[in-house]
C-alpha cells in the first residue's frame, strides 16, 4: 500500500513512542488497531524510526481488514494515508484530525478522548511534540481495550465536511473489497445453478438460454466441469423410459439433438455425456424406446401403460394369447368335416373380396346376383377364362387366387349351387369393380 511507503519515509518516532507503539500495534481488537494505526501513521510522519517499521507494516493489515468492516474508518484511513504523503502539514493534520475524530468517534467517550478531539483541530498551531503528547499514549491503552463503537453523531463537530467525502470514498473500498468476496459467490451460484439446471430435464427450452449463459460463463472461468463427470439423472426422450438413470454428467456446448442417421454421427445433446460408450448406449436406448412405443400401439389396451417392465409383460401376454388362439382355431379347423371343400373356396373368395376395400358394395350386389340361381354351367365355365383376359389391370394376386380357386374347383367339382353362384356373382362383380 502506498501509505506504508509514506509512513516509512516520514517516520520520526521517539523512544517513548516505540514503547507504546507495540501496545498499540499488538492489540487484537480491530477498532483500537485502527486508531493505533492512525495514530502511528500520524506519528510516523514526524518520527521515523526503523524499529517501528514492522509495526506499521503489521498495523496496515488490520487497517485493511478494518476497511471492509467499517466503511467509514477504512476510507478515512486510506484517505489519511494518501494525505500523509503530501507535504502540507496542516492539511495532513487536518485530515488526520478529522479522520482520527471519525475513528475516535467510535470509542467510548472518555475524558481523554474528548481532550483528544478538542486538541486535534489545533494541530496546525501546536508543535509536534505537543501533538504527540496530546494523543495521550497512556490513553491508547484504554483505546486498545475499548471495543465498542458508539454513536458518533455528537462528536462529529469539526469533520462533517470532510467526513462526507470520506464517506463517499468509503463506499468504494468496501465495494471493491466486497466484490472480491461476492465475486466468488456468484461463481458458486452459477455453478450451483448450472448443476441444478443440468439435473433438471433437458427439454426445458426456456432455460436453455440461461444454461447457455451460465455455461459460457463457466467456460470462461477456469472450472473443472468439462472434465469432471458427476452422476446425474439422465433425461431420455422416450416417455416410457424416463425413469432410467445414467451415470455420467459432462458439459456439452453443442445443443443439437441426437441424430440417428448413422451409428457414428450421433450428436450429444445438451448436458449429456459425450463419451462414445454412453452415446452408443443412449442411441440404443432410444431405439428400444421407439420400438416399445410401436409395440404399445400394436398391443390393444396399452395406451396408459408407462414402463418397460409392465409393457413387456403385456406384450408377452398378448403373444401368448395369440398363439393360444391359433392353436384353438387349428383344433377347430381339424374337427371340421373335410367334405366341405368348396366352402373353403367360397370363404377364400369372400375373404379376398373383404380385403379389397370395396367389400360393402360388392356384398350388396352379391345377394342380388345370388337370386339368379339359373346360371348355366357352360356360361360359368366360359366366364372363368375370360376373367383374366378381360381384366389385365388386375393385380396379380387376386388373379392367382382366382386361378387357385379355378384349379380347386375343377379338381373337386361343382357340388353346391350357392358356391358356384357366389363365384359367378363374384366374377361378375369383379369386372365392374376393377374397371
Amino acid at each position: 500500500m502506498d501509505g506504508r511507503e509514506n509512513e516509512d519515509v516520514g517516520f520520526q518516532h521517539g523512544g517513548e513512542d516505540d514503547l507504546h507503539c507495540p501496545s498499540l500495534g499488538m492489540s487484537t481488537n480491530p477498532l483500537p488497531e485502527k486508531i493505533s494505526g492512525m495514530i502511528m501513521s500520524s506519528v510516523s510522519m514526524y518520527k521515523p524510526s526503523n524499529g517501528a517499521d514492522p509495526f506499521f507494516s503489521s498495523g496496515w493489515d488490520p487497517l485493511a481488514s478494518l476497511s471492509q468492516n467499517q466503511n467509514f474508518g477504512g476510507s478515512s484511513s486510506t484517505v489519511s494515508h494518501s494525505e500523509f504523503a503530501n507535504p502540507p502539514y496542516p492539511i495532513a493534520l487536518e485530515n488526520q484530525g478529522t479522520s482520527s475524530t471519525g475513528q475516535l468517534v467510535r470509542y467510548p467517550s472518555n475524558s481523554s478522548f474528548v481532550e483528544l478531539v478538542q486538541k486535534l483541530p489545533c494541530f496546525g498551531s501546536g508543535s509536534f511534540s505537543e501533538m504527540a503528547n496530546s494523543f495521550g499514549f497512556p490513553d491508547c491503552g484504554q483505546i486498545a481495550n475499548s471495543g465498542c463503537p458508539q454513536n458518533y453523531a455528537s462528536l462529529k463537530e469539526g469533520g462533517t465536511g470532510i467526513t462526507s467525502t470520506n464517506g463517499a470514498l468509503s463506499r468504494d473500498d468496501p465495494q471493491i473489497s466486497c466484490e472480491g468476496a461476492i465475486g466468488s459467490s456468484p461463481n458458486a451460484k452459477r455453478r450451483k445453478r448450472a448443476s441444478d439446471s443440468k439435473n433438471s430435464p433437458i427439454t426445458h427450452q426456456n432455460a436453455e438460454g440461461e444454461l447457455q449463459k451460465s455455461l459460457s460463463r463457466e467456460s470462461s472461468d477456469v472450472l473443472k466441469e468439462p472434465d469432471e463427470k458427476k452422476p446425474r439423472i439422465e433425461h431420455s426422450k422416450g416417455s416410457n423410459l424416463r425413469g432410467k438413470q445414467a451415470g455420467k454428467q459432462a458439459k456439452d456446448t453443442s445443443s443439437g439433438d441426437a441424430s440417428r442417421e448413422n451409428y457414428i454421427h450421433v450428436r450429444a445433446r445438451r448436458g449429456q455425456a459425450t463419451n462414445s460408450h454412453s452415446l452408443a448406449e443412449r442411441v440404443r436406448r432410444e431405439k428400444i424406446s421407439e420400438r416399445m412405443r410401436l409395440l404399445q400401439e400394436l398391443v390393444p389396451g396399452c395406451n396408459k401403460i408407462t414402463g418397460k417392465a409392465v409393457m413387456l409383460d403385456e406384450i408377452i401376454n398378448y403373444v401368448q394369447s395369440l398363439q393360444q388362439q391359433v392353436e384353438f382355431l387349428s383344433m377347430k379347423l381339424a374337427t371340421v368335416n373335410p367334405e366341405l371343400n368348396i366352402d373353403i373356396e367360397q370363404i377364400l373368395s369372400k375373404e379376398i373380396i373383404h380385403s379389397r376395400g370395396g367389400a360393402g358394395a360388392i356384398l350388396g350386389l352379391a345377394p342380388a346376383m345370388n337370386s339368379s340361381h339359373h346360371y348355366p354351367h357352360g356360361i360359368f365355365q366360359g366366364t372363368f377364362p375370360s376373367i383374366p383376359s378381360t381384366t389385365p389391370k388386375y393385380p396379380l394376386l387376386p388373379q392367382t387366387v382366382l386361378d387357385n380357386e379355378l384349379q380347386s374347383l375343377f379338381q373337386v367339382g361343382f357340388n353346391s349351387c350357392p358356391a358356384v353362384d357366389n363365384l359367378g356373382s363374384n366374377a361378375g362383380n369383379l369386372k365392374p369393380e376393377f374397371q
Binding site: 440404443r284 431405439k287 428400444i288 420400438r291 416399445m292 410401436l294 409395440l295 400394436l298 398391443v299 417392465a309 413387456l312 409383460d313 406384450i315 408377452i316 398378448y318 403373444v319 401368448q320 395369440l322 398363439q323 388362439q325 391359433v326 392353436e327 382355431l329 387349428s330 383344433m331 377347430k332 379347423l333 381339424a334 374337427t335 371340421v336 368335416n337 373335410p338 366341405l340 371343400n341 366352402d343 373353403i344 373356396e345 367360397q346 370363404i347 377364400l348 369372400k350 375373404e351 379376398i352 380385403s355 379389397r356 376395400g357 394376386l397 387376386p398 392367382t400 387366387v401 387357385n404 380347386s408
Partner: protein
C-alpha cells in the same frame, strides 16, 4: 384411395397367408384320406399339423425378410423335416450352437419373449422388439383368417 397402399400391404399379407394356408389345408385333406379324425389322437395330430401349416404358410407369405420367418422356415421346412425324420442331428447341432450364444437380456421378461418369438434367442433387445412387432402383426392376421375360416366351416 390414399389408404389403399397401407391396406394393400396388410391385405397382401393376409391374402398370401390365406392362399397358402387354404392350399395347405386342402393338400392335407387330400392326403389324409383315412378317417382318422374321429379319434382324439387323430384330431390332436391333425391339429398340430394344421398349426404348423398355419405358421409355415404365414412365414412363407412373409418371406425371408424377417428373422422370425426365416427361423420358422428353417425349423419347419421340408428339409428340416426330412432331417428330423431321418434321424439326422445336423440341424439340431446347429441349433444348439446358435441357441447358447444369445445375448444377456435385461430382465427375465426378455428371456420369455425370446422363447415366444421364433428365432428370438439370438437377437439383441433392439431387433427382438422389432421382430416382436412384426410377429404380432402377422399373428393377428393369421388369427383373423383362421377365425373366418372356422366360422365359415361351422356354418
Amino acid at each position: 384411395m390414399i389408404s389403399k397402399g397401407a391396406t394393400w400391404n396388410s391385405n397382401s399379407c393376409r391374402i398370401k397367408f390365406a392362399r397358402r394356408f387354404v392350399s395347405a389345408l386342402l393338400h392335407m385333406r387330400n392326403r389324409n384320406t383315412r378317417p382318422g379324425s374321429l379319434t382324439i389322437e387323430g384330431v390332436r395330430t391333425h391339429t398340430q399339423r394344421i398349426k404348423i401349416a398355419a405358421y409355415l404358410s404365414m412365414a412363407q407369405a412373409v418371406g425371408s425378410r424377417r428373422a422370425w420367418s426365416r427361423a420358422v422356415l428353417s425349423k419347419h421346412g421340408s428339409r428340416a423335416r426330412r432331417h428330423s425324420r431321418m434321424g439326422r442331428s445336423s440341424v439340431g447341432l446347429k441349433k444348439t450352437r446358435v441357441i447358447r450364444s444369445y445375448p444377456p437380456g435385461e430382465l427375465g421378461q426378455a428371456k420369455k419373449l425370446r422363447q415366444l418369438v421364433p428365432g428370438g434367442k439370438t437377437m439383441d433387445m433392439c431387433s427382438l422388439l422389432e421382430e416382436t412387432a412384426h410377429y404380432i402383426k402377422c399373428l393377428a392376421t393369421q388369427v383373423k383368417v383362421m377365425q373366418t375360416l372356422a366360422d365359415n366351416f361351422s356354418k
